[in-house]
């Protein structure tokens, strides 16, 4: 019987709050902190979910790193793990923006003059997310890389952490994801025609696309025996992870959600549970026509029409590489608190989906939560989290 993998620390920062407590407050109040872009100059009028009142510790570093450091510090404090030196630590984090050298000032100068100040290049070379976090914590480990699986990066990074612990490569893994709101993916997603001109309406009949957001969600994963040895009795566990590719299209999901269906079944099987034992699902729920239709139908097929589910992207926007990390944290918090917020933005059921998310703050009964992610490029991932 494999050892239980505990979740001993949680950290989150997004438009709905600069820490876990603020996030829960936004959920309880139904507060959506969206607005126009202020972080960069753009001619595009779409609403976004920016993190407010946040500068970050290191003004020379990319914003993504600073968001990650903020969530990381909260998670480490929550885990009561200030000294990591006696543990074998792994670091696996997901991102999209931090992996790209897309500094406009650098490139503009280079293409006009054939040369450019190299500050942006240095920042880029120091910004591999997982390596930067290792440097920040002064940890030397060979188990350290950044996942760039687009929208499922954070979920997949947590899945990698689970693999490392089960293989006894590490005692503790810092996992999750971070991404900043950036002009380049903003323009890119608008060009794809998937961004809504108004606030996003996940799973709603009138939904017209996503809103972009930013943030970081980080979990501390630890073997249960390691946590107990240091006097920490865990109340949350990572029970399963499943991942499967659609193998269908560069940007659109498989019409029948073949990959998501498979990923869910793998995750549930690893956790050793039936679909009926799942208290709720935190869905990917981007509010695009395709994603919500495909995902909603698969959730109905796997879990049945009575499933309690929601999308928290109505509170955070789509935070790309951070999404899986944030949604894992939110799922864990919900299990701990015993409630999920309403799936904000939803009011009218779409008959093409045939299942509706929760319309109000809802008490949850049960020990298991599932968090799903569907990525650009057709990867689908699912986590099973438990308070048992």
């Amino acid at each position: 019987m494999p050892e239980n993998i505990a979740i001993t620390g949680l950290g989150a920062i997004s438009a709905c709050g600069n820490n876990a407590e603020e996030s829960l407050e936004s959920f309880a109040l139904g507060r959506r902190n969206a607005g126009k872009v202020t972080l960069f100059k753009t001619e595009l009028p779409y609403s976004v979910f920016e993190v407010k009142n946040f500068l970050g510790k290191d003004t020379a570093a990319m914003r993504t790193l600073n968001l990650a450091f903020q969530a990381l510090e909260e998670a480490i404090r929550d885990a009561n793990l200030e000294d990591l030196s006696e543990y074998r630590v792994g670091i696996c984090l997901g991102t999209t923006v931090a992996s790209q050298l897309n500094d406009m000032d650098f490139y503009k100068s280079y293409r006009e003059k054939g040369s450019a100040p190299l500050d942006a290049a240095k920042r880029f070379l120091n910004s591999n997310l997982a390596q930067a976090v290792a440097g920040f914590l002064k940890i030397k480990t060979k188990f350290c890389f950044t996942v760039v699986n687009a929208c499922s990066s954070g979920t997949d990074a947590i899945g990698v952490g689970l693999s490392w612990l089960r293989n006894d490569y590490c005692d503790i893994v810092i996992a999750g994801g971070a991404d900043e709101l950036n002009r380049v993916p903003f323009d890119g997603f608008v060009s794809l025609g998937v961004v809504s001109r108004s606030l996003c309406l996940p799973f709603d009949r009138e939904r017209s696309g996503l809103n972009l957001g930013e943030g970081a969600g980080i979990v501390i994963l630890e073997k249960e025996s390691s946590a107990l040895r240091r006097g920490r009795k865990p109340d949350l566990f990572l029970k399963g992870y499943g991942s499967a590719a659609d193998g269908y299209h560069l940007t659109a999901p498989h019409p029948e959600g073949r990959g998501l269906d498979k990923a869910l079944k793998i995750a549930l099987s690893e956790a050793g549970i039936k679909p009926s034992e799942v208290a709720f699902v935190n869905a990917h729920g981007t509010a695009t026509k395709d994603n919500d239709r495909v995902e909603g139908r698969v959730l109905k097929k796997v879990f049945g029409p009575e499933l309690k589910f929601l999308s928290t992207k109505g509170f955070t926007g789509h935070t790309l590489g951070a999404a899986g990390g944030l949604e894992a944290v939110f799922s864990a918090l919900a299990l701990r608190q015993g409630w999920i917020p309403k799936s904000i933005g939803f009011s009218e059921e779409d008959n093409e989906i045939g299942i509706a998310p929760v319309r109000q703050k809802t008490e949850i009964k049960g020990s298991y939560a599932v968090s799903t992610s569907l990525a650009f490029g057709g990867n689908n991932s699912a986590l099973v989290i438990s308070n048992n």
């Binding site: 790209q100 040369s115 293989n167 490569y169 794809l192 299209h249 490029g377």
Partner: protein, 200 residues
């Protein structure tokens, strides 16, 4: 072009892909064909791709679009190819792979990290067979950055894939017993960052 090349059908399917994705698709395809596995194996075939810099030339072409035409008039095709997992998406969709797939980035040792992850997935039986590879693409912008900071580095491009498994039929080329890496390239990129700092 050799009219009899077995990967010819791929050429049409990936004609819109950038060079990074094309190199990765051909290398992955060749590794799968070389393995002798049948098509059924693709149902659970895993795919792990490591890269240091990803599709940086395509990213810069996308920045050209923003600068030339404005935020509202950029190419969605270029954008979708500028994300790091585009190559993986092309491989999985063209080879009809339905197992777990993951793209990772690491400046120092992406292929080594990909092999380590493959080992952990095989030990957990996430897949019986995994395509593990690495890809890099040359670009003049990245060469500018690296040549000024680390002139001893020769920035080339290419892709290589292995099919790895714990099953007996995977003995074709041998075994991977111990994974280590020399810090040569690690020094190169760490050197790049420190020399950039010194030049300011």
């Amino acid at each position: 072009m050799d009219k009899n090349r077995k990967d010819k059908p791929l050429l049409k399917d990936i004609r819109r892909a950038d060079d990074l994705s094309k190199m990765a698709v051909f290398a992955a395809y060749d590794a799968f064909v070389d393995s002798g596995l049948n098509e059924d194996a693709k149902n659970d075939l895993g795919l792990i791709l490591g890269t240091a810099f990803g599709p940086h030339p395509t990213t810069f072409r996308f920045l050209d679009e923003i600068l030339n035409y404005g935020d509202a008039n950029v190419s969605p095709t270029l954008f979708s190819h500028s994300v790091h997992n585009a190559a993986n998406a092309y491989i999985s969709s063209n080879l009809a792979i339905h197992g777990p797939t993951l793209t990772l980035t690491d400046f120092n040792k992406p292929f080594y990290q990909a092999l380590l992850l493959a080992e952990s997935w095989l030990n957990e039986s996430r897949s019986e067979n995994i395509l593990v590879g690495s890809v890099e693409q040359y670009g003049k912008e990245m060469e500018y950055i690296l040549s000024g900071a680390a002139p001893e580095l020769r920035f080339k491009e290419g892709s290589a894939f292995f099919l790895v498994s714990l099953k007996d039929y995977a003995k074709k080329y041998g075994f991977i017993d111990v994974l280590t890496y020399r810090d040569k390239f690690a020094s190169g990129f760490n050197l790049a960052a420190s020399l950039l700092e010194d030049k300011r």
